[in-house]
């Protein structure tokens, strides 16, 4: 990847590519998931290729791209139920991910997890999580482990604005600070917790104020501006690598789609959504690229590459093997395995 010292255009193009890949991946997944789950008034379509709840990060790609551009493969990451972007940005293979969403044996999780549990431990992506805020203590433990083992790895811990009202947020930040752990907390604030505007549920001045109340340095950034995220992440990650302990980023963004793919999100004000579409991070990065003199054809090329990559992923997922029922009994536990069925 183009480092911090490469030209601004090269760096931004790199970040743009990550975002374009996430967008293409999620659009394809959404298409394959129509009627995936009965909720939000939608009825289930039992033939949907992508089953169950599918949480899209459309509009939030800049956070994943900007933060992960500052991580090494050996660094770790924990995510939420909305984890495709983090996983791709951390370096996972789109085909293996799409296979997972299709419930195939070659998926990242051998078909056992699906979208909500997408993970790629090989690139340090320790898992999406179906329980809000549950990734926080796990990330803290991974950072504690790195410190104990004398590893130079750091951990990035993503969570939503809704998660800051759950207990593990307090416990995890406190723990990270007292043990001075190498961890970057990233609150990806898309203003909603499912159908509920988070603001009314959150007391005080918000995520960064809470982090400061627990002794962590905290920065608020425009999470739709991938350059701003990249710059802030670079600085925070540098501080962590220099041994300054945990850092906190509060990234302001917006969830352009519904909570899950079947959610029409009619509870939102249309004007609010339209305004958000105006500040779509891809659009913003596109005009920045143009301003930096990157020709439109170059951007179109990147878009086309992303599309091609995802088409290949879809084809791979269609072709891939469905797990045998027998595989349901593997990877439960070693002790007593095989004795019971």
């Amino acid at each position: 990847m183009p480092g911090a010292n490469s030209s601004p255009a090269a760096r931004l193009l790199y970040l743009y590519r990550t975002m374009a890949r996430i967008r293409a991946f999620e659009n394809a997944a959404e298409e394959a998931s129509r009627g995936s789950v009965a909720a939000f008034g939608a009825t289930a379509n039992t033939t949907a290729l992508v089953r169950g709840p599918l949480h899209l990060s459309t509009g939030q790609e800049a956070v994943a791209a900007g933060v992960c551009a500052n991580l090494l493969r050996s660094d770790c990451l924990t995510s939420t139920h909305r984890g495709h972007g983090h996983t791709l940005a951390k370096g996972a293979d789109a085909s293996a991910m799409m296979c997972e969403l299709f419930g195939r044996a070659d998926g990242t999780n051998k078909g056992k997890g699906g979208s909500m549990h997408i993970a790629d431990f090989a690139v340090g992506m320790l898992g999406a999580n179906g329980v809000v805020a549950a990734g926080i203590p796990i990330a803290v433990g991974a950072a504690h482990s790195a410190k104990i083992r004398g590893s130079s790895a750091i951990v990035a811990c993503f969570f939503g604005d809704g998660a800051i009202n759950r207990g593990p947020f307090l416990e995890g930040l406190n723990w990270a600070r007292i043990f001075d752990l190498p961890i970057l907390f990233v609150c990806e604030d898309n203003r909603y917790s499912a159908t509920t505007a988070t603001d009314a549920m959150t007391a005080g001045a918000g995520a960064a104020a809470r982090a400061r109340g627990i002794g962590l340095p905290a920065e608020t950034v425009d999470g739709n501006d991938v350059i701003a995220v990249d710059d802030a992440a670079r600085e925070l990650v540098a501080r962590i690598r220099a041994g300054n302990g945990p850092q906190f980023m509060h990234a302001l963004t917006y969830r352009i789609k519904g909570h899950v793919s079947v959610d029409a999100a009619a509870y939102r004000d249309q004007g609010e959504v339209e305004q958000a579409i105006e500040s779509d991070p891809l659009k913003l990065a596109g005009s920045r690229l143009a301003a930096l003199g990157v020709p439109a054809e170059r951007i179109a090329e990147v878009d086309a590459e992303a599309q091609a990559e995802i088409q290949a992923a879809l084809a791979a997922a269609h072709a891939a093997r469905v797990p045998d029922p027998d595989e349901a009994y593997a990877d439960v536990q070693d002790t007593g395995a095989g004795q019971w069925r």
């Binding site: 289930a44 169950g52 999580n129």
Partner: protein, 327 residues
């Protein structure tokens, strides 16, 4: 009688209770927009935000606050979305709600209903698919309810709200859209099971969504000339021991089927009781001891099918002591 689905039936019960008694309130995430399954539709509009309370994502405090409300004159109905998230509030359910009345020597009551939907939910994988009724049956102080039909989701929810004890109320996530006739007046009594189909050869006890699988298996068995009595347990604790023992004594054989993991599931309790009391052949059918996987094939491996039940039933009827005895 009116035709409605399982979610609407619960909504009707709650609305009726709230109309009748100003002390009944509901709290949980996303209730204002009707709940993600429509099981609260229209309630905030009718009763206002003070009584149909949208909460932060704070499961521990949702239940803990409900305990405080229940101790001070309210009848809270608490929404946990899926039982899996209620695992973030287990201290509050077990150490606080269930034990409060006892450990304070009867000074207070905790009349709260905690809705903890259970069951495999198509494509939702390991963290949204558990059935943990056996856990709560094990905890003194708790009532545990698992309705299988819209009529019962109306009647049992009404009874749960009225009963004065902390109730773990377990709806099934794959039943929300299930249609059925619902009587105008709630008619359920906690602790009473129901004979859902009469029969003479085997007693098959079940509850929640598995009841429908049991009924399907009984229908197929009937075509093979075997007569199955299907009991819908409805209340897991206190369970209707008398009805089950009477039926099992009559048929001479017992099968208990549930969607929860078989190992240490509630089927073990029923089977152990019947074996001890009657000494008749007994069997259980529950899920294997594996998490629920995402892919359909894996998910299906974690479900108990009508075919499995037929195999178990025929093992019982043919006096073949061995089978898929432990999973």
């Amino acid at each position: 009688m009116a035709l409605m689905n399982y979610a609407q039936a619960a909504c009707k019960a709650l609305a009726e209770a709230m109309r009748a008694d100003a002390s009944v309130v509901a709290l949980g995430e996303d209730l204002g927009h009707g709940g993600v399954f429509g099981q609260y539709r229209g309630l905030q509009q009718e009763f206002g935000k003070a009584r149909v309370i949208d909460t932060p994502i704070s499961e521990a405090t949702i239940v803990g606050a409900a305990v405080g409300m229940a101790l001070t004159g309210l009848h809270p109905v608490v929404e946990m979305r899926v039982v899996d998230f209620a695992l973030c509030a287990i201290d509050e359910i077990v150490n606080q709600a269930a034990k409060n009345r006892y450990m304070f020597g009867g000074q207070g009551r905790v009349p709260l209903v905690a809705r903890l939907p259970i069951g495999v939910w198509s494509g939702s994988a390991a963290q949204h698919s558990q059935s943990l009724e056996a856990w709560f049956a094990h905890i003194p102080g708790l009532v545990v309810v698992a309705p299988a039909t819209p009529a019962d989701n109306h009647g049992l929810l009404a009874a749960a709200i009225a009963c004065g004890d902390p109730v773990i109320y377990m709806e099934h996530k794959e039943l929300w859209g299930f249609q059925g006739e619902v009587p105008a007046q709630a008619e359920c009594v906690l602790g009473k099971a129901r004979i859902a189909r009469s029969g003479t050869d085997v007693t098959l006890v079940s509850w929640s969504r598995m009841l429908h699988t049991a009924l399907a298996a009984a229908e197929q068995a009937a075509q093979q000339g075997v007569s199955i009595e299907v009991i819908d347990l409805r209340t897991i604790w206190p369970w209707d021991r008398q009805l089950v023992l009477e039926s099992a004594a009559r048929t001479g054989r017992l099968l208990v089927a549930h969607e929860a993991v078989q190992a240490a599931g509630f089927g073990a309790e029923i089977v152990a009781t019947v074996a001890q009391e009657l000494g008749i052949p007994v069997r259980r059918a529950g899920a294997p001891r594996i998490p629920v996987g995402y892919a359909r094939t894996l998910e299906d491996a974690a479900r108990v099918s009508a075919e499995t039940l037929l195999l178990e039933l025929s093992a019982l009827v043919n006096g073949d002591g061995r089978g898929r005895s432990m999973a």
